[in-house]
């Protein structure tokens, strides 16, 4: 059974803009798949379709063998956005336990899990801080802890480190890989950074600009576990070049691209 299975997924916005056109993609359990593409290729929209946060206009979406809506209602995935979306009125611990409260876990069970999650993201000791007392990187780690708190098998990440500086981003990349291995979850990761996609992924999905289509797949066979040294290996650069060439072939302007937030206006 695939963790994610997309068949002929298309998305048209009002005013006739086709954001996605006939996307077929299967993600196996345990994979780390990055979606990369030029501005407006609909990669964030595709992630939202997998999470049933927006509906496709055609095609089918299955998560863990269930239709997307059923999967969302069954809490099959956790999501991390570009901004951490933490609530100022909740402490770090209470932010992490928000989904657990919604799942009606009792207090003792919630507290135990929050403690584990804080250890996982190396934020023990910060449980009673408020989000605005943390740096951007720490906030994003809280957001990851929250997404994983109820042990979903799938983690959806929408440019989670896009707003962070390069050094923080690279450190969090390594942390994310460690967390991915420790939790043996499946990750679908949207990014506009080629090196980030290559460093993190087992597979990179290159998308073309409007309408968004799958322009190519790059299997990343870099050995695990990966570390900062991985970024300096010739095979890393070869893979970066391959992704860059595929992006160029798909019509993306060279260099890393920034995708503006899409206004969701379904038909």
């Amino acid at each position: 059974m695939n963790a994610v299975s997309l068949k002929g997924v298309s998305k048209q916005f009002r005013a006739g803009v086709t954001a996605l056109d006939g996307i077929d993609l299967d993600v196996e359990p345990g994979e780390f798949v990055s979606l990369i593409g030029p501005s407006g290729c609909g990669k964030s929209t595709l992630l939202r379709i997998i999470g049933d946060l927006t509906k496709p206009t055609a095609g089918t979406v299955q998560v863990n063998g269930k239709p997307a809506e059923r999967a969302r209602r069954d809490h099959e995935y956790g999501i991390v956005f570009q901004d951490a979306v933490l609530y100022d009125w909740r402490t770090v611990a209470k932010n992490i336990s928000l989904p657990l409260e919604l799942l009606h876990w009792n207090r003792a069970r919630r507290n135990a899990r929050v403690k584990d999650m804080l250890e996982l993201v190396e934020l023990s000791g910060f449980e009673s801080h408020h989000p605005w007392q943390l740096s951007g990187g720490m906030q994003q780690r809280v957001s990851i802890a929250r997404a994983l708190s109820f042990s979903p098998t799938l983690l959806l990440m929408d440019e989670p480190f896009g707003a962070l500086d390069e050094m923080t981003r690279e450190r969090l990349n390594s942390e994310l890989l460690r967390i991915w291995e420790e939790t043996s979850s499946t990750v679908v990761f949207v990014t506009h950074s080629i090196s980030e996609a290559v460093f993190l992924s087992t597979r990179v999905v290159v998308m073309s600009a409007r309408p968004g289509r799958v322009a190519g797949l790059v299997d990343v066979d870099l050995p695990q576990p990966r570390a900062s040294a991985t970024r300096e290996e010739p095979s890393f650069f070869e893979l970066v070049t391959r992704v860059r060439e595929q992006l160029a072939a798909a019509g993306a302007p060279l260099g890393e691209t920034q995708e503006p937030a899409l206004v969701e206006e379904p038909l």
Binding site: R48, R73, Q133
Partner: protein
């Protein structure tokens, strides 16, 4: 890498927001202002009916303090009743508007129009409806004044939620009620308190304006009006001081409740970080 932010100590006085030291500038301005007033009135021999000396007002206030207090409390109770009524209704309407947007579309123009009615025109009508001596006539006026700022601010807080917040709750399959309870309402609290603070002073104004158009002799507004009519301007000023003091205390109490209930708000961070 987990020591970038030090744990922050928080004492009650810091949570309230000010320490004794922070008050020095405000106290200095008060002392200078009163001193200048006293000096100018004395130096230019300003007539008492135009502007009495602060010392004269202070003397009048002190000699009449018990009657001023009881009159002040009478008026304050009217203000408080109107405040509770108007603010409560404001919060309720904001919740309804946020829950059912078409409702807001249908009724908001009339809420705005009602807010545009000069309260002076409204006061005699309320007195007529509920009776000159019935405190409810003044409560109604205060309530009308309080309603709009509380409603409009609370509504803004309820609706100014980041789209990602809503997506996040949706990803947890949280329903409308959970979204309100866990996101919209806590998000609205700081905005709501902005309205509630404005409304404290408005409720006192509403009650006193209502009393200007007639009320029992026990009321502060009636006393101020009578003193002015009989030329006892110093006594009228003492009444005004009482009204202001009650308004300030009311405001301060609500501001304190705000500090204690929304100490999580980033606006409090200035007092919490070095």
């Amino acid at each position: 890498m987990s020591s970038m932010v030090q744990p922050v100590p928080r004492s009650l006085s810091r949570r309230i927001g000010r320490t004794a030291l922070d008050w020095i500038p405000a106290v200095a301005v008060f002392a200078i202002g009163i001193g200048a007033w006293q000096g100018l009135v004395t130096a230019f021999h300003v007539q008492e009916f135009l502007l009495p000396k602060p010392t004269a007002i202070g003397h009048a206030f002190w000699t009449q303090k018990s009657v001023l207090w009881s009159q002040g409390m009478y008026t304050f109770k009217e203000a408080l009743g109107g405040y509770a009524l108007g603010s409560g209704l404001g919060i309720l309407v904001a919740l309804l508007f946020a829950a059912w947007r078409p409702l807001a579309g249908a009724f908001m123009p009339y809420a705005v129009a009602a807010n545009a009615i000069p309260i002076i025109a409204f006061a005699p009508i309320m007195n007529n409806w509920f009776g000159l001596l019935n405190p409810f006539s003044k409560m109604a006026i205060a309530a009308v004044l309080c309603f709009f700022p509380v409603m409009i601010n609370t509504l803004r807080g309820l609706t100014s939620v980041h789209p990602s917040s809503i997506e996040l709750m949706r990803s947890y399959a949280a329903g409308r009620f959970a979204l309100f309870r866990r996101v919209r309402i806590p998000n609205a609290l700081p905005h709501m308190f902005t309205g509630l603070k404005v409304a404290t002073v408005l409720s006192m104004i509403g009650a006193i304006v209502g009393e200007y158009f007639g009320g029992p002799i026990e009321a502060l507004g009636v006393k101020i009006l009578n003193d002015s009519s009989y030329g006892n301007f110093t006594d009228a000023w003492a009444g005004i001081v009482m009204a202001s003091l009650l308004g300030i205390v009311f405001y301060a109490v609500v501001a304190l409740v705000e500090r204690l209930t929304t100490s999580w708000h980033p606006s409090a961070r200035a007092f919490q970080t070095e």
